[in-house]
């Protein structure tokens, strides 16, 4: 195994962008954050946890990125993003709560790109 499985980061990019698009639609339709966006965030969170598991397994197996501290920082930050977005967006009664979720989806997709820059073994 020369690299981290490319399927999981790819799925996260797609899921993140899809969630962002759906959340932007809800924002445009003047809908506050509801159950559907919460479920979307939940799916994103599970995917991110799976990716963290895969990366940790790779690290235990002996792989090392050039910047290990940075990678660990990302591993800590990644699962926090959907959770923080869920709280911050759910407590807002207007369409702007949904907009917050769009940001979370975009961030998840961007994080995959940044991860690849930190450790090229992680790729889409």
């Amino acid at each position: 195994m020369s690299s981290v499985n490319g399927a999981v980061p790819t799925i996260i990019v797609i899921a993140g962008l899809a969630l962002a698009a759906y959340a932007l639609l809800m924002t445009a339709l003047n809908r506050r954050m509801g159950l559907s966006l919460l479920v979307g965030l939940g799916v994103l969170e599970i995917l991110l946890l799976v990716l963290i598991g895969v990366i940790v397994a790779r690290l235990i197996g002996g792989g090392r990125p050039a910047g290990l501290a940075v990678l660990i920082g990302y591993l800590i930050a990644m699962p926090i993003v959907p959770v923080a977005a869920a709280f911050w967006g759910a407590l807002e009664r207007s369409r702007w709560g949904s907009a917050v979720i769009a940001v979370a989806g975009l961030v998840a997709a961007v994080l995959m790109v940044r991860l690849h820059e930190i450790w090229p073994a992680i790729h889409v």
Binding site: V70, G73, S94
Partner: protein, 159 residues
């Protein structure tokens, strides 16, 4: 036929158009999105500056110190916009103004003097490494804060 004025409740204003409901706080409404993005940048810029200063400060000290300054500005913006108190709003206006000037100044400087900015920082190239969000963010911040200026208040009390 009763004149329409007779059934108008006394406390209703005579404004011809419906007044927009005033934003309750800088952290609600559109401010919700603003605080989310500012918080994101506060964390991201702080982490990036910390890593740069901790691991390779001698490589580009000016650039990394400016990176740390940007992180502090983002932290202040996030905290003050979340607070929403009148004093916090005043601080936020100053912070966003400094932020906007900073993006323009560092952006220009980084394009002119490559030797001083070998590594990308948050405000390098006007925030091009972050989709130019650092360039537009303070503009939206200041526009949002304008709703609490005297003009914004007059619009509220007139309705």
């Amino acid at each position: 036929m009763t004149p329409p004025d007779a059934v108008t409740p006394p406390q209703a204003a005579a404004s011809p158009e419906p007044a927009p409901s005033p934003p309750e706080s800088t952290r609600t409404g559109p401010g919700r999105l603003l605080v989310a993005v500012y918080g994101l940048f506060a964390l991201s810029a702080s982490a990036r500056a910390a890593v740069q200063i901790a691991t390779k400060f001698g490589h580009a000290p000016v650039a990394y110190l400016l990176s740390a300054f940007a992180a502090v500005v983002y932290i202040i913006a996030t905290a003050t916009l979340t607070s929403g108190s009148p004093r916090a709003r005043r601080i936020a206006v100053v912070s966003c103004s400094v932020e906007f000037a900073g993006v323009l100044a560092v952006g220009t400087w980084s394009l002119v003097d490559h030797a001083m900015f070998p590594d990308a920082t948050v405000w390098s190239g006007y925030g091009s490494g972050y989709g130019f969000v650092p360039l537009v963010l303070p503009v939206f911040g200041l526009l949002w804060l304008r709703r609490w200026t005297r003009r914004g208040r007059n619009r509220r009390t007139a309705g």
